[in-house]
Every structure is written in structure tokens, then in C-alpha cells.
């Protein structure tokens, strides 16, 4: 603590509270809550409110008993439903990320190459949906994909099909929903890198006889790779825990882990199981989150050096 104070004084002679207030806030409302989740994932289920038993208890002889209970984890391990939910979440999030990349990369590239005045408008059009309600954008797809929805109505009226296609309540609709909702998160970091590229490099490559594809693979792609990584992680990490999209578009057969945690918590009221499920999901996500953080720091250092 003292060294923080001294450093602060040296650099800006600023009061300690400038750092202490946001730091304290995040410790209290972000870090400590995780420790509580971890703690409750080890406690016994019990009926009542709150629906979990304390970990530590004082016995009548004044002894402190700490009960670490692994039953929630073994329970999750023995029920294949949970395993499938994790696998489904990772697969769906991965497919969604790939989809975002396939649509987002050419779009970001196109925006970066447009004239400056057009660029502003094109970027604004990408950001605009992000500002409107996420929930209502998912809702829009129900109207499009459902058996009585616009696509099926159109195809039936055209005489192309006689019975509605099942476009909703499946993995396909969930992946589509993820691509739709997270596309801006992919385009923006990609654009930030593609825009910085000096396109004279490309002309030089052409002059030296490179084909367009070759020039792209050897120049544009490597230079935009940090954007690809950042965008992919920005899509993948939240998508793994997504609840709204699988709930509204995935139907009962799509069991993503966010939905399972929600049901354990709100429907079954098994808080310790929900906590254990959340801990396991976090373990899966620690590596991607760490990569994202490292990338973020590099970004800032790069900016600092400029």
C-alpha cells in the first residue's frame, strides 16, 4: 500500500483515492463475488433460504469445522446432460465465431478500403444495431424463422414447399442468432487493424508480381491477425455463456450451459449446482480470457509508445 502511495506522489502527486475507489469497487463487486461462487459450489444443498448450507460451523465445543463438499462436482460429472451442455456451448460458440469471421472480415476490409466519407457512414451502420435492444434483435428472428414466419410463408406462397421447414428451435437458429448479434464485435476490432495497414505495401507486392490472393495471404492477413484474435475472443467468450439466444431460438433440444445454469438457479433452485457449473465454465474460459487480456495490454502499450 505504501509503495502505491509513494509512486502516486512521484508521478502526479495525486491522491490515493483516485485508484482506491474504482479498485475497491471492482474488488467488492467483481472479485469477491467469484470467491463466493467458488465457496458455494462446495457447499451442501439445503431447503430454505438461501438454499445452501454454510461451509464453516462452530461446534458446541468451540471447534471450527470446515466442510468442503465435492458432491456438486461429482453430480455434474456423472450426469451426461451437463457434459453435452458444455460441448454444445463450445461448439455453438465456435461455429458462431467462425461465421462472424467469414462475414465480418470481408466487411471490415471493405469498410477500411472505402473513401473516408463513406467509411464513417458504413461504420455507423455497423455500430447502430449494437445500440438497439439485443433482446428485440433476437426476437426479430423468431418472426423470420418460425413455422408461420416470413421465410416459410414466402416459400409456401411461392409453391416451393408444402410443409413449413423447421428453421427454428435448433442449433442452426442458435448459431445464426449468435452470428447476427455478435457481428459488430467482430467487425470493429478487425476494422481498427485493417484501417492502419499501409496499402502501399500491397501495391509494392503487385508491382513485384504477386497475385491478389498471394498478396493478401502474405501482407494483409498477418498484419490484421491481432484484430482477428481480438474479434474472435470478443465473440467466443460471451457466446459460450449465452442465455437469451439459445432460450429464444434454440428450443428445448439446444442445451447451452448458460441456459442450464439459469434453469438450475431459477427453476430447480439448486444454487450450489449452478455455482459449480459456473466455476467449471470459468475454468474453460480462463485461457481465452487470459489471451484476450494479454492482447488488450499489448494494445495499450502500443498506444502508449506512440
Amino acid at each position: 500500500m505504501k509503495s502505491i502511495l509513494r509512486k502516486l506522489k512521484l508521478n502526479f502527486s495525486s491522491p490515493f483515492w483516485v485508484t482506491a475507489i474504482p479498485f475497491g469497487w471492482l474488488l467488492l463487486f467483481f472479485l469477491i463475488p467469484f470467491l463466493i461462487v467458488l465457496k458455494i459450489s462446495f457447499s451442501d444443498l439445503r431447503f430454505g433460504l438461501p438454499p445452501y448450507a454454510p461451509l464453516m460451523e462452530w461446534t458446541s465445543e468451540g471447534l471450527l469445522i470446515i466442510k468442503i463438499n465435492l458432491t456438486n462436482y461429482t453430480f455434474i460429472g456423472t450426469d451426461s446432460l451437463y457434459l453435452f451442455a458444455y460441448l454444445d456451448s463450445l461448439t455453438i460458440a465456435l461455429l458462431g465465431t467462425i461465421g462472424c469471421l467469414c462475414i465480418g472480415y470481408p466487411m471490415a476490409y471493405g469498410i477500411a478500403k472505402a473513401s473516408p466519407s463513406k467509411r464513417t457512414i458504413l461504420l455507423m451502420l455497423v455500430i447502430l444495431p449494437f445500440w438497439t435492444s439485443f433482446l428485440l434483435r433476437v426476437y426479430a428472428w423468431i418472426g423470420i424463422l418460425s413455422p408461420q414466419g416470413y421465410i416459410n410463408t414466402l416459400l409456401i406462397n411461392l409453391g416451393l414447399i408444402s410443409t413449413p421447414l423447421s428453421l427454428i428451435d435448433n442449433t442452426f437458429a442458435t448459431v445464426l442468432g449468435i452470428i447476427y448479434c455478435y457481428l459488430p464485435f467482430m467487425i470493429l476490432p478487425l476494422y481498427a487493424f485493417l484501417e492502419k495497414i499501409d496499402y502501399a505495401l500491397l501495391e509494392a507486392a503487385y508491382d513485384l508480381g504477386a497475385r491478389p490472393f498471394q498478396a493478401f495471404i502474405r501482407i494483409i492477413w498477418p498484419l490484421s491477425r491481432p484484430g482477428v484474435i481480438a474479434g474472435s475472443l470478443l465473440v467466443f467468450i460471451p457466446a459460450v455463456g449465452e442465455f437469451v439466444i439459445p432460450e429464444l431460438l434454440g428450443g428445448s433440444q439446444t442445451l447451452m450451459i448458460g441456459k442450464v445454469i439459469w434453469n438450475e438457479f431459477f427453476t430447480n433452485r439448486t444454487w450450489p449446482v449452478a455455482a459449480a457449473l459456473a466455476v467449471i465454465m470459468l475454468v474453460f474460459l480462463i485461457l481465452p480470457i487470459a489471451i484476450f487480456q494479454r492482447y488488450q495490454e499489448q494494445q495499450v502499450r502500443f498506444l502508449d509508445a506512440e
Binding site: S3, F12, L26, L135, G143, E242, Q296
Partner: protein, 265 residues
């Protein structure tokens, strides 16, 4: 090099923007449909907008959401700005790396985890110290502040990094006190970032369903919670009307902001 988009890029871009906007367009068009059956067009009507204005549960939840979003955005701007100043201007203090991780983590954390963990915190705190008493608007505000300050920190941090430090140094050399440097130099320069950070935080808070559902109490349903419970059972034209209102408000707001920024340049 500019303006020479290949046919492939042009096609993808047209397809991409159509993909982003067609679903929104269907929402808007069918909000004016007179039929209760949402997907069959039966003629122009504004009856769903009238129905919307008479829906008291919805209006009450809108008020709650606006109240939460205003306080959460304001708190998030204050906390996020302090965090950004610490990270950019205070050099390498002990724990800076950890602090940096903490400030961005809420942004990418799956909302289910954030919501669950905050609820468990509030329940635990109430058991131990009796505060916060019950859950409702207050706990939703605390939760949203935590989520939104991550975004504000990033926005303000970007602006601070771009800012010329020599101005501050000059002011300090001339004997200005740090508080004076902050109010007279830093604040006016980062003000656009504070404004966009506030708006972003406001929009995020207004939009959040998952975290709010975890930390809300009885009688404190926010707008997304009410929308969610009604669309869970299928589509209703009234929600289309609401979507149209929200989308047009946002579109007008973003256009005004874009125009203002363009003019200032």
C-alpha cells in the same frame, strides 16, 4: 487504392448489411400490421402503438429501467474515469497489471456468471451485515455500474492515451494543483469520451436482461425482463411496436451524435 472494391467484396458487403438490417426492417413493417397474427399482413394500423401506451406493466418497467440506467451510467462514468486516469497517468504502480485485468474483465465475462456471482454476494452480505436489505432497483444499479464501468474505462483510457501530456506538465510546472489540472485541462479534453461513455453505459444498462434478472427483487422488473417474459411465448405485435420506438429513438440519437462529431471535426 480507394474506391476499387472488387465484385466479391461488394457482394459480401451488400449481403452483410442486408443481414444486419432486414430483420430489424421486418420488425418495423409488421408493427403497423392490423392483424394480431404477426406474420400475415392485413393492412396498416397503429393500434399496437395505442395498446402499448396503455400497458401499465410495461410503462412501469420502462420507468424502472430509465432510473437504473441513469444512475448506473453516471456512477460508471465517475468510477471508469478514475480507473482510466490511474491506469494511464500513474505509471507502474504496484498491482497495476491486476487492476488493468479487473477493469476489462466484466466486459467479456458471460453475463450468467456475473449475474449469479453478484446475487450470491448480495445474499451473503445481507446475511452478514444486513445490507443491502432485499433486492431491487438498488442492487440492479450496483450490478449495472460494475458492468458498465469496464466499457467507460476503455473509452476514456483511449482518449487519455491520445492526449498530449505536455499540457498537463506545463500547468503543473506553472504551479497548478492536480485538481485544477484535472478540471481545467483534462476534463474539457476528455469530455467527449465521458459523454460517449455515459451513453454507451446507459444503452447497456437499458438493454441488460440476464444480470438484472439475477439481482432484481419482487416489483423491480426492468423493461427487458417484461419484454422477455412476453416474447418467451411467441411473437406479439405490441412488442414489434415497442421495438420500432426503441430503434427509431436510438437511430435518431446516433445520427445526431454522428452529425455533431462530424461538424466538430
Amino acid at each position: 487504392m480507394q474506391n476499387k472494391l472488387s465484385p466479391f467484396l461488394k457482394t459480401v458487403m451488400i449481403f452483410g448489411y442486408a443481414f444486419l438490417y432486414l430483420p430489424i426492417l421486418t420488425l418495423i413493417i409488421f408493427s403497423f400490421n392490423s392483424s394480431r397474427q404477426v406474420t400475415v399482413w392485413q393492412g396498416f394500423s397503429t393500434r399496437w402503438y395505442t395498446a402499448l401506451l396503455q400497458d401499465e406493466t410495461l410503462l412501469k418497467s420502462l420507468l424502472i429501467s430509465l432510473q437504473v440506467a441513469t444512475s448506473a451510467a453516471t456512477l460508471a462514468v465517475i468510477l471508469g474515469t478514475l480507473a482510466a486516469i490511474s491506469l494511464v497517468r500513474f505509471g507502474r504502480f504496484k498491482g497495476r497489471g491486476f487492476f488493468g485485468i479487473l477493469t476489462t474483465a466484466p466486459m467479456i465475462m458471460p453475463e450468467v456468471i456475473t449475474g449469479l456471482s453478484l446475487l450470491l454476494l448480495f445474499v451473503g452480505l445481507e446475511q452478514i451485515i444486513g445490507w443491502p436489505h432485499g433486492r431491487g432497483i438498488f442492487t440492479i444499479t450496483l450490478a449495472h455500474t460494475t458492468l458498465c464501468m469496464a466499457y467507460v474505462t476503455i473509452v476514456v483510457r483511449g482518449r487519455l492515451v491520445d492526449m498530449d501530456v505536455s499540457l498537463e506538465e506545463a500547468a503543473l510546472d506553472l504551479g497548478a494543483r492536480p485538481i485544477k489540472v484535472f478540471t481545467a485541462i483534462i476534463l474539457p479534453i476528455i469530455f467527449p469520451a465521458l459523454l460517449s461513455g455515459w451513453l454507451l453505459a446507459f444503452a447497456l444498462s437499458l438493454d441488460d436482461l440476464v444480470i438484472a434478472s439475477f439481482v432484481a427483487g419482487p416489483g423491480s422488473s426492468t423493461l427487458p425482463m417484461v419484454i422477455f417474459s412476453s416474447i418467451r411465448f411467441g411473437i406479439t405485435p405490441q412488442i414489434n411496436a415497442l421495438a420500432t420506438l426503441i430503434i427509431s429513438t436510438v437511430a435518431i440519437g446516433v445520427m445526431i451524435a454522428g452529425w455533431l462529431m462530424h461538424r466538430n471535426k
